[in-house]
Amino acid sequence: MIIEALIGVTFLAALVVFVAPDEYAGKLAAALSALPVLGSLWMWAQYDASGNALLGGSIAFETDVVWLTLGGLDLHWFVGVDGISLPLVVLTTILTTLAIVSAWTPISNRESQFYGLMLFMEANLLGVFTALDFFAWFVFWEAVLVPMYFLIGVWGGPNRRYAAIKFFVYTNVASLVMFIGFIALVFGLGDSVSSMRLPEIAQALRAGALGGFAGLDAATLKTVAFVATFLGFAVKVPVAPLHTWLPDAHVEAPTPVSVMLAGVLLKMGTYALLRFNFTMMPDVATALVVPIAGIAVISVIYGAMLALAQQDLKRIVAYSSVSSMGYVILGLVAYTTYGVGGATFQMIAHGLISGLMFMAVGVIYNTTHTRMVGDMSGIADRMPLTAGIFVAGAFGYMGLPLMAGFAGEFFIFKGSFASTVHSAMPLFTAAAMFGIVIVAGYLLFAMQRTLFGPFSFDGEYEITNAPTHDVAPLAVLLLLVIVLGVAPDLFFGMIQDAVNPILSGGGL
């Protein structure tokens, strides 16, 4: 019941904050959001399950009741966590709290609505990561978009309307494609499944119970469904060339929202890819390894090249997310412990680091009211602490060892280089790895021009040290990034444990 409690408390908190007076909303939201943090940490401490939730492993904190019956396929309220989802739950709760604190400065109108929506989004995110019934999962999956739409649309920058609606429609269309693909798959399974529970579907699919549907034979159906779901999730990840909603959304979104968007929402895409495509249809994934790995490499390099061309700090970080997510795809398709496990770990790592970077950009923006690289220089002179954390975060992004990003990336590289799914995997890996050079290039250039050099700033704002509550979330994130970088086993153990059952289907 802890999961229900977690989600329920968060929903309640959202309601309470929504009707609270604007003056107290921020503090109240932060305090209330500490509850899910504690809950998720307790879950982490108490976690005792093993194996993959979808493939017959034991499921922690499980609840499974029938919700409604529809045409032979029951819909269940079925939640639980395994080693893949629990880290993401922890990430979600922590990042939300930090994002809420980081919103105190920039958000100055309609606060109660803002914080209410943040909490509402958190609740749905928790649902996404814990739901084990396709339907319940999909409800949460879609419900995340709604608060995000408002958060960008109401509190965003000048072009927020365009960005919000683009995000909203784009990701919804993607969800639809995915939904159709997956439902077709479920129909193809026919009587071999009796509900929409993901474990049941996954096991049936892996057992080869798929039949034909809609005039397609089983093999074609599986491929079509794989492609449809892949495309659907790829938009959320996002994978080039389906990424164009992301920079717009990030640039317009206020900092805390960018943090959530990059930190958690993108992970929904990769999480779903792992849960659905790579867990359920390893044979198709391995058959399509060349296009998938190719897309991953393109995302990495192309995203990094785009980041290199940007002048807006937020756009830089946004495009670099495309790049980082490319690694995840590469790791997933590798079908090795380190590849898939590393991809999962990278989700956490990137969540923390991109959150850190967006927050750091946000703190600078709060003071300077500009994010353009050319508009300022030598900021480190006036905001040494922020600049220091920015530098640390940037190096984290570049994959500095003993920070979480390196762990994730190295695991992925190690796993995908050694992958046996295709003889060209080492080449793909080596190509993708070149991203670590480009990422260093654009981040170092950006830092050199904004943070360092002689101080100059044209705006009328006075550049001083940021308030403590702006810097504190940064520091916490940095600490987490380092802790996870030094001791990845805090999560990596349970991740591997959950990932290993998936691998048996790879390399077929």
């Binding site: 529809l70 396929l73 879609e142 109401v154 609606i165 919804n172 269309v173 639809l176 939904f179």
Partner: protein
């Protein structure tokens, strides 16, 4: 001798008509009140009588549905008056839709009509129209179908044109009436052709005589013309032309009423007529009406959604979206197959209409609220409404997202059930077209949300009042839309069970 025939029915049976009778009586009572009170009758009294009557009818229908009246477990459908009427699960289910929509509409009208005369006429016409719809869902003979159709339609024409001094309302009434008249003529001609081929009007007898290959062509014309009549009622292509104008011009509660209840009534009768009178297995070649519905469904949902995407006025956008939703609901007929999971398909369509009844009524009632405030009609006029009326704006947001089929609202599940059942029946492409249209619809629905929440108000306007009735109705509809997500289980199960008995 007279009484003999009447008493041939068991005393208890005619009570199955109670919902319809209650509605009709309420209408008469309203007229009575109007007659007794020569001065303008109290708005509150009229509204509460109307709401009471429709809620009573709702309660009765719900009780019947739960108690199993007219359903298999209590001995099957109850037929009355020589098979002219039938009370079964489906009619009761649809009665639920009509009555609850009616209740919301009359409650909302309490505020809407505050400054108007002749309220009693308004309320009574609504109630009579609801009576006609209820009877429509029970009609088991083409004669009853036609008469009930007129009973539902004629008050609607008058209601649309109710604001006699408003050009929009009159124009809407005119167009509605003219297209309606043509459509009913077409429908009547269709009935006459069916009679020409089969020699009977009772649905069951028609079905028995329908397999006459040498007259297949004539029957085909008849069937297609009847489809035309239903298409008019449900605002489907190509008989949809009245809908945008009628919904736009009519008083907003009436738009809600028409686009929710009246549309559902059209579906109710179409379901029964086509399933009962023209069973798929027994038709001669060349009269495959399912294909016609498939074409209409695809064209209707596509046209409705595309046209809605570029509207400037919210109400007109909703009107087109209502056409789009007619297209979705048509899947209920378009995905039928001989021997397929027809109960599921039809039931899903019914469940969608129920959910639609809440969310669409709510949306139009929100517009009524906005019209009551005199804010304006275009998207721009809605700018910043959320800051002045957050509660209502939340409700409207729920309606919009639910109409678009987004979780976590009822509209998502009902659409899902609909598409799911279509796929189940093998019509995955219908579901795909529907799903694509759904995705497109998100764009224009979110424009409303965007205007309310994201845009800043263009000018200062004060909201003078918080009309109780409108608020109550809007919030009720919002809660209904929301609660139909977790409570969708019983709804869909009931719908599919009662639909299955038709086959």
């Amino acid at each position: 001798m007279f009484d003999l025939a009447l008493q041939a029915e068991p005393a208890a049976t005619w009570t199955a008509l109670a919902p319809a009778i209650l509605l009709g009586l309420t209408g008469l009572v309203l007229l009575g009140i109007d007659t007794i009170r020569t001065d303008e009758a109290s708005n509150a009294l009229l509204a509460s009588v109307s709401a009471g009557g429709s809620l009573l009818a709702f309660g009765t229908a719900a009780w019947f549905l739960v108690a199993g009246t007219g359903q298999e477990r209590t001995g099957g459908a109850i037929t009355l008056y020589g098979d002219a009427l039938v009370v079964d699960g489906m009619s009761l289910f649809f009665t639920l839709i009509f009555t609850i929509v009616t209740a919301m509409v009359v409650v909302a009208s309490y505020d809407y009509l505050r400054d108007h005369e002749h309220r009693a006429v308004f309320y009574s016409l609504v109630l009579f129209a609801a009576t006609g719809m209820t009877l429509l869902s029970m009609a088991n003979s083409l004669a009853t179908v036609f008469v009930s159709l007129e009973l539902a339609s004629l008050p609607s024409y008058a209601l649309v044109a109710f604001l006699k001094n408003d050009k929009g309302s009159v124009e809407a009434g005119l167009k509605y009436f003219l297209i309606g008249a043509v459509s009913s003529a077409v429908f009547a001609f269709g009935i006459s052709l069916v009679y020409a081929v089969t020699g009977s009007l009772v649905l069951g007898d028609v079905a028995a005589a329908v397999n006459a290959p040498e007259m297949a062509g004539v029957l085909g014309i008849g069937v297609l013309m009847m489809i035309g009549g239903f298409a008019f009622k449900t605002a489907s292509v190509p008989f949809h032309f009245w809908a945008p104008e009628a919904y736009e011009g009519a008083p907003a509660p009436i738009s809600a009423f028409l686009s929710s209840a009246s549309k559902a009534a059209g579906f109710a009768v179409a379901f029964r007529v086509f399933v009962e009178a023209f069973p798929l297995g027994a038709l001669p070649a060349g009269v495959d009406w399912v294909i016609a519905f498939q074409v209409l469904a695809v064209v209707t949902m596509t046209l409705g959604n595309f046209a809605a995407a570029t509207q400037e006025k919210v109400k007109r956008m909703l009107a087109y979206s209502s056409i789009g939703h007619a297209g979705y609901a048509l899947i209920g007929l378009a995905a039928l197959t001989a021997g397929g999971p027809n109960g599921d398909v039809l039931g899903a369509s019914m469940a969608h209409l129920l959910v639609y009844g809440f969310m669409n009524t709510g949306a139009f009632l929100f517009i009524a609220l906005v019209e009551h405030w005199g804010v304006g009609r275009t998207f721009e006029d809605y700018n910043g409404l959320a800051s002045t009326a957050p509660i209502a704006a939340v409700a409207m947001t729920v309606f919009m997202f639910s109409l678009a089929g987004l979780p976590p609202f009822g509209g998502f599940l009902s659409k899902y059930a609909l598409f799911y059942s279509a796929i189940e029946a093998g019509f995955w492409w219908l579901a795909a077209v529907g799903a694509i249209n759904s995705a497109l619809s998100l764009f224009y629905y979110s424009r409303v949300v965007k205007a309310m929440w994201i845009e800043s108000p263009s000018g200062d306007f004060e909201i003078q009042s918080r009309p109780v009735g409108l608020y109550a109705a809007v919030i009720f509809a919002g809660l209904g839309t929301l609660l139909l997500l977790p409570a969708f289980g019983p709804v869909i199960e009931t719908a599919q069970t009662v639909a299955a008995t038709l086959f």
